[in-house]
């Protein structure tokens, strides 16, 4: 991953605000961070790619509105990505700017002939090898979104409370209590699933997940 210090980052943002062709540097520095965040939340490489594409598309088109406050632009990108994830989890049909639609819009035909589909298959098989992660990810999905977000940002992305507060536009105290309630709820779900027989467990879980397919959740946990 390509990294930049805050001073350089500020200069790059200034240049990108005047000339969007300079946005590449910001993209290089944070592409993996945002893709990783999206992928760890959704466990689906195609959706993660779309969320990443939409995040950077929105960042590019709104870069002139970004105001430097002495903190990395990564928090702003996390905020956009979190909103995108929220929309993805709430809407049955999430229609982001996928890479294909972007290429259509700009009328651009990439010279790179390497197959994007092969990369997706490779990532999917990589995910499949991490069954423990997939179990935990499904378990997190049972929780209401507000808890999923704070838990993912705190424990998965290793963000400090102050950083989560900035990303979610919530007071630190609120983040702390959401975190504590979310963890309590998550523990309760885990305990319930460890003690109940499989059939009733499936019913309990499916009743709580709402839109999520009950077979998918009950079968894995």
């Amino acid at each position: 991953m390509y990294t930049v210090d805050l001073k350089t980052e500020r200069e790059i943002i200034k240049q990108a605000q005047l000339d969007p062709s300079c946005f590449g540097e910001i993209f290089d520095a944070y592409y993996s961070v945002i893709l990783g965040y999206a992928l760890r939340r959704v466990a689906n490489p195609v959706v993660a790619q779309d969320i990443t594409a939409e995040t950077f598309y929105k960042a590019l088109t709104n870069i002139h509105k970004f105001k430097w406050r002495g903190i990395s632009i990564s928090h702003w990108l996390y905020k956009i990505a979190t909103n995108e994830l929220r929309m993805y989890f709430r809407k049955s049909k999430y229609l982001p700017h996928s890479l294909e639609t972007m290429f259509e819009q700009v009328g651009f035909d990439p010279i790179d002939k390497q197959n994007l589909a092969e990369e997706i298959v490779e990532i999917q098989s990589h995910l499949d090898r991490h069954q423990e992660y997939l179990r935990a990810q499904k378990l997190l999905l049972i929780l209401p979104l507000k808890y999923q977000e704070v838990i993912a940002l705190r424990f998965v992305e290793n963000k400090k409370l102050s950083e989560i507060s900035r990303i979610l536009d919530k007071k630190e105290g609120t983040v702390k209590s959401l975190l504590s309630r979310g963890l309590r709820l998550l523990r309760r779900h885990m305990e319930a699933q460890q003690t109940q027989p499989f059939v009733s467990k499936r019913i309990v879980v499916s009743a709580k997940v709402g839109a999520i397919n009950s077979n998918e959740v009950g079968g894995i946990i």
Partner: protein
Amino acid sequence: MKTNDLPKFLEDFNLLNIEMPVHQRRLRQALLVYGQNQQTIHTPFWATFKNLIGRDIKSRRVTLIGSGATVAIVAVLGLGLLSSQDTPYARAEGLVNRSIKTMELVPPEARARFTKDFGRDPLDLLEEAKQAKDLETLTRVEFEAGLLKKFGIVGTFMSEDQGRNLRQIRASKGLGYTDPSGNSVLLGLDDNDALVFAAGPSSVFEDHGG
């Protein structure tokens, strides 16, 4: 999975770090081309200027007075600087000279490889740059933006294995000038001032865009 291990267990999530270079490269291309198209529609300078001015009249007036004063100071300082040796051209010329010295020391096979990749001998290009009246230094960001705007090249990639793979060349700064035929030429230099990338009017340059 034990419930008291929960925070530790969640922390293990972040071990799942995944790279998707093909998607990354293509998304970068799409965004930069899109950004360039948008620039012709909007006026980013006005957008930035609007942010600079702020919302209330008082701060707007202060900002305008401040901007006027700054312009005057910059003009005076600029005239002073132009009379000294530390002009942008002198800095660019210094960089070309350093690059020539570096390129004279690189092994002949490395020079031959550059010539094969870009169709011009690196020392010839640097000598041509040295003669140009509009020679200027570019930051890495300016260099990449110039590649995109002037040549439609996104990033400093070289195609290899008959186009199956792309190798990225990291240029940390650049030089820009107009050649004797009136065409723009951009040169990419690495941290040691070695010439590593070139884009110009010759058809051999056109195959290397990403």
